[in-house]
Symmetry: C2
Subunit: 333 residues, 2 copies
């Protein structure tokens, strides 16, 4: 089968023929129709991810059709259209993943290929309102956003929500979820064009975070926020803490702008604030995410579509950071 | 009546005769039997508290008997033995106090006096198993500890709990609550004697935080903790984050060792950790605290008792930091 293989970091993925995998007991073979990029894939290609193993087929997001099943699984599943939960071996606790937890696509071979083998427990029926491109754009980002916003952030209609770095996959889903529950949403971006797209998706207003006074502008125009969902960290994180209303919470799921931040604990306790870490999500989170997306007919924002043999162009687009929503990889058969 | 009055900061409280207050509608007059010191009182005497107003009778903790009621209140309440909730005008949200929130004892006249006037809604029947000294030792610290441990920290029997700075009022209540629900408790202190007292109260083990490797010692001897309750902040707070198990949470209620701390957000999100600010508690928290203390027959740890006219000696004892549990002020009549 054709696959995009990482042979060494800081080099393009190799589009090459590799043996088609076979499902063992408990596993299914998926003929992929589409995949999607995540920042994680980009970090891995740059060598900026722990435990890199080569050669490996990258890719966490995918949707396709079950074409073969392990010996203990009913063949009636063959032909089922599915999306893949990329979280492997989350473990028994809803509070955090186990030490065995892995994300599909390094070290396990992932979805940038014509076929992928995953555990049966990781496949879910494709939401019927979504195209293959849209279904493939869901898994990692929509799951991370669901856990961050709902499971950890306890988002409700009563919240004014701040979503930083709009345009990123997780951020854009958080925006869509917040709009779906009728919360008021503010966004930040460095690009006016992205702010305008966010407003089209239902954001109340947007702020350019390259303005050193963007936090003051939020306070003046909109007021304090109850929930912030942030994937950047860095200096902006300290501003977010100034924007939180009493009892407010900020969920952190990434640190693209820097991991170390200085926190004034006295502000935290006097205003009863919470800083909540969140990453990926449990199988229960994934199920609830699919249910939410289906009930609210949410369609992922798709930035662009590249065929599998042009995946390196997709990664380059991600590197430039100009995308809004997901970069989808089409897998022709 | 006799009262301990703050006339200027960085000077002893003046023990002097002042007019006895009268209850207005909605208020009751309490003849106090005992009061207790909180670190807040000490900070105020040192000028290290916002919005200091003089002259003022300090004191947040008190227990006594209702002796007079406002014109709209049934006189049947007269003679009722009560403890006082020192939180005034918390407001409607359980998530955080309102902007009108105040703590009894500056700017409102407090409990370091023979009598105090408070709203009827701030008095609760004295738990029957407690002496006057013990009842007066409860309010501010037991309330703060209840909200920190349960409402915010979601303490259960399944937790291994770390309580830093044992001997402090709040810390000692958190220890007692944790023991009451049969959680495993570790404590820290700079004094071996306090660690031994904590073990008598049910702590599993104790660590001296002046040892720069105390966090390593915890990991080796006890393992990671699920919940930490911390009133110190500073460098020790960064160590606490290293001790939290995946899904763990740390509740911060004070910063005696420093307010600014550096947080590695990547550790927070990857391990699904939470930093939760907590201060004081709502009327609901106060009610639940009294119920919990009564059901579990918890008796506050009392360090020492000073008569009202020796209150400055009590404050000096608090300054030295050698106390374990509450410093009680006896109010003779």
């Amino acid at each position: 089968m054709k696959a995009a293989v990482l042979h060494q970091v800081k080099a393009p993925l190799a589009i090459e023929d590799v043996p088609e995998p076979s499902p063992r007991p408990g596993e299914v073979l998926i003929e992929l129709r589409a995949a999607a990029l995540n920042r994680r894939d980009y970090w891995i290609t740059q060598g900026l991810y722990p435990g890199i193993k080569v050669p490996c087929i990258l890719g966490s997001d995918g949707a396709g059709t079950v074409v073969e099943v392990g010996s203990d699984i009913s063949t009636r599943l063959i032909g089922q259209e599915v999306v893949i939960n990329p979280g492997l071996e989350w473990g028994p606790s809803e509070g955090a993943q186990s030490t065995r937890f892995r994300i599909l696509g390094m070290p396990d071979d992932g979805t940038f290929a014509e076929y992928v083998v995953v555990p049966l427990s990781n496949v879910y029926p494709k939401p019927p309102h979504l195209s293959w491109h849209e279904a493939a754009a869901l898994p990692l980002a929509a799951l991370t956003a669901y856990r961050a916003a709902f499971t950890q952030g306890e988002l409700t209609a009563a919240d004014r929500v701040l979503v930083t770095g709009i345009g990123g996959g997780v951020a854009t889903f958080v925006l869509q979820y917040s709009v779906a529950v009728r919360a008021e949403v503010l966004v930040t971006s460095s690009a006016q064009e992205k702010i305008e797209k966010a407003i089209e998706l239902g954001a109340r207003s947007g702020y350019n975070y390259t303005d050193p006074q963007w936090d003051e502008a939020v306070l003046e125009a909109s007021g304090e926020v109850n929930l912030a969902v942030d994937g950047a960290g860095g200096k902006g994180f300290e501003k977010i803490l100034k924007l939180l209303a009493p009892g407010g919470r900020v969920v952190t799921y990434g640190v693209t702008a820097g991991a170390k931040v200085e926190i004034p604990l006295n502000r935290l306790f006097w205003r009863q604030l919470r800083i909540i870490g969140s990453t990926m999500g449990s199988p229960r989170d994934f199920e609830r995410m699919l249910d939410f997306v289906t009930r609210h007919l949410i369609r992922p924002a798709i930035d662009s579509v590249f065929p599998l043999d042009r995946i390196n162009d997709g990664l380059e687009r991600m590197r430039r950071g100009e995308h809004f929503g997901k970069i989808v990889i089409e897998i022709p058969h």
